[in-house]
């Protein structure tokens, strides 16, 4: 018996380190650019310029981050507003978009699923079709609309046009369809009207879906690029992602990489934290929104 058990066990032990090795390489590829960026953000520019750059953090972390946050991202000839201002803009944008999308999607899904009314399906298809009209295919006319509405360089302009959401509406619709009919009838008998039912039953039951969507939509809002590039042309309205990319002098002029990397780290930290801390909902959100 012992001899029989022996062979497969040693075999599995021997093979066990191969997956770990491959995954270790994967993790290295994932983490390496982040580590180098972090190290660079703690060095002085001359330290970075002396190739090869050190791979252990230097002592200028506080100085670099302090300068970036409070005085502004300075890189060569380029100046951006203080990073905290840009982070504030990004936060406003990410939170408004996430919350706004969730609110208007849950309301429209509720209308489409729990009522019967003329043009119901027409409205549903209108929302659905927005999937096929991303910003990228309507750049110029959208700017004209925003200009006509005096929404250029406003938080409203940065957020409101992005809060229509077919994906979130579809997700909520899918979930609402699984709520048993009898639950609605029980609520009717218990004297709950549609809005009371929404608040007391539908909303509490949707909590995990809302959390999952929130993570996905926060990333979506924070990481927006083309939209703030078009609408937030004023430096005051710049998001941190745009600000960071402006600090790279693509013309080949001098770039202060320690500042760029400090800003990059600050730009990636909030969404990464949200994903790591809300991992469970994030995975659920990914899977659900792709259905």
């Amino acid at each position: 018996m012992a001899a029989q058990l022996d062979t497969p066990m040693t075999k599995s032990v021997r093979r066990d380190w191969v997956p770990h090795l491959v995954i270790a390489i994967g993790i290295f590829i994932t983490a390496f650019p982040l580590w180098v960026a972090f190290v660079a953000s703690t060095l002085s520019n001359p330290e970075i310029a002396q190739a090869p750059m050190p791979l252990l953090p230097g002592d200028r972390a506080a100085a670099n981050y302090g300068e970036a946050l409070w005085q502004g991202g300075r890189s060569g000839r380029i100046m951006t507003p203080p990073v905290w201002e840009m982070m504030f803009n990004s936060t406003v944008m990410a939170l408004s978009i996430a919350v706004g999308k969730i609110i208007i999607s849950i309301l429209s899904a509720y209308a489409v699923v729990f009522f019967r009314f003329p043009f119901r399906m027409a409205f549903f298809w209108m929302i659905f079709i927005t999937l096929m009209l991303p910003v990228e295919v309507r750049i110029v006319p959208t700017i004209q609309v925003i200009t006509n509405l005096n929404m250029m360089n406003t938080y409203a302009g940065l957020t409101i046009p992005l809060i229509a959401s077919a994906t979130a509406t579809l997700l909520f619709r899918q979930f609402f369809l699984t709520i048993p009919d009898e639950l609605v009838e029980a609520a009717k008998i218990d004297g709950a009207g549609p809005m009371k039912f929404f608040r007391d039953v539908v909303l509490p039951l949707s909590v995990t879906n809302i959390a999952a969507l929130f993570v996905i939509l926060f990333l979506y809002g924070w990481n927006q690029y083309l939209w703030p590039l078009l609408i937030g042309t004023d430096a005051r309205m710049q998001t941190i992602v745009i600000g960071m990319s402006k600090m790279i002098d693509s013309a080949g002029g001098p770039t202060d990489w320690n500042m760029v990397m400090a800003t990059a780290i600050l730009a990636l930290l909030p969404p990464v934290l949200v994903v790591v801390l809300m991992q469970r909902w994030f995975v659920k959100g990914l899977v659900e929104t792709e259905k």
Binding site: H20, V22, I23, G26, I29, T30, A31, P33, L34, V36, A37, A40, A49, A51, I104, L107, S108, A111, V112, V113, F114, F123, M126, I129, T130, L131, L133, E136, V137, R138, I139, V140, P141, T142, Q144, I160, P161, I163, A164, L177, D181, Y225, L226, L230, V241, S245, I248, S250, V260, M261, A264, A267, L268, P271, V272, V275, V276, L286, V287, E290
Partner: protein
């Protein structure tokens, strides 16, 4: 699918729908309609007169060698990003599927790049590939490869390709792993009893069963590479050097906003619209199939 039991109110649903529909109409349908309309107009360079030209803008765009080479480049880039992000992800998922412990921790780390903005991912990799100082460019130069994405188009393309793919590996990994974990272990055991060796088992049993996931990821990654990599390119190369990293979205943006050629840029937008519609239809047909079996 429909609910049988609904509420009788007639006005309320319209109120609930109003915000979403208003935004949809004002910011989606109206500009999209404008884009289609503008794609049929020719404006003189000074904006004094506008002339209806039908499909001439499309004709001009589709006969423009610059546009066609951008389109070719975009397809190469998109399939490159897709392959470069899916193949390592599949390998990692197969490995993680075998590991009993630590899989969750691996997932957490591997998915981090997905949370990072494309432009930021681009900046991280651009830094690694900076000529003379970059942590990767430096050793490359020591072995005689003079890496310079500022001057060399191929070098620039490789940087945006790697940055775009890097961001997506964790996402693909999650879906591949979920796909692998949903394959019944009994099937693999049956194949093992039938004498199939491990590699053979993978190609004859696991990979075919994974094909819905693979197909789904293929579409998602192509869509991502097509539309969401604008940030990488804008931040890292600005489409350059020359036009060597200019993709369709970048060109549509450049021609519309920088070059101010409204007719042609709108025609490009309409062409992009057709591409999105195609990708969305494929994606939803796939999902329909998934729902039905």
């Amino acid at each position: 699918m429909e609910r049988k039991v609904v509420f009788p109110q007639k006005l309320l649903p319209y109120l609930l729908l109003a915000p979403q529909i208003a935004i949809t109409l004002v910011f989606f349908f109206w500009p999209a309609g404008q884009a289609i309309w503008m794609s049929t107009l020719l404006q003189d360079p000074f904006g004094f007169s506008v002339q209806f030209v039908g499909l001439e803008n499309f004709q001009a765009v589709l006969q423009d060698p610059a546009y066609l080479s951008t389109m070719q480049r975009t397809f190469l880039f998109s399939f490159g990003v897709t392959a470069l992000s899916m193949i390592p992800a599949l390998l990692l998922a197969v490995m993680a599927d075998r590991v009993v412990r630590g899989a969750t921790a691996y997932k957490t780390i591997l998915v981090v790049p997905y949370a990072i903005a494309p432009a930021v991912a681009g900046a991280l990799w651009l830094f690694l590939f900076q000529p003379s100082i970059g942590t990767i460019a430096y050793p490359l130069r020591l072995i005689g490869i003079d890496w310079n994405p500022r001057i060399d188009g191929t070098d620039a393309m490789i940087v945006v390709l790697i940055a775009s793919a890097w961001k997506q590996i964790g996402y693909n990994f999650l879906f591949f792993l979920a796909g692998l974990q949903s394959i019944p272990k009994s099937l693999i055991e049956a194949a093992a009893i039938d004498g199939a060796r491990e590699i053979r088992r993978f190609w004859t049993i696991v990979f075919p069963l994974l094909s819905p996931t693979t197909f789904f990821l293929l579409i998602v990654n192509l869509t991502y590479a097509f539309f969401d990599t604008f940030g990488v390119i804008h931040a890292v190369t600005q489409g350059g050097p020359g036009k060597s990293t200019e993709v369709l979205i970048y060109k549509a943006w450049y021609d519309g906003l920088i070059a101010q050629d409204l007719g042609r840029s709108s025609a490009q937008a309409v062409i992009l619209m057709f591409i999105v519609i195609g990708l969305t239809v494929i994606q939803f047909r796939y999902i329909e199939r998934k729902v039905h079996y």
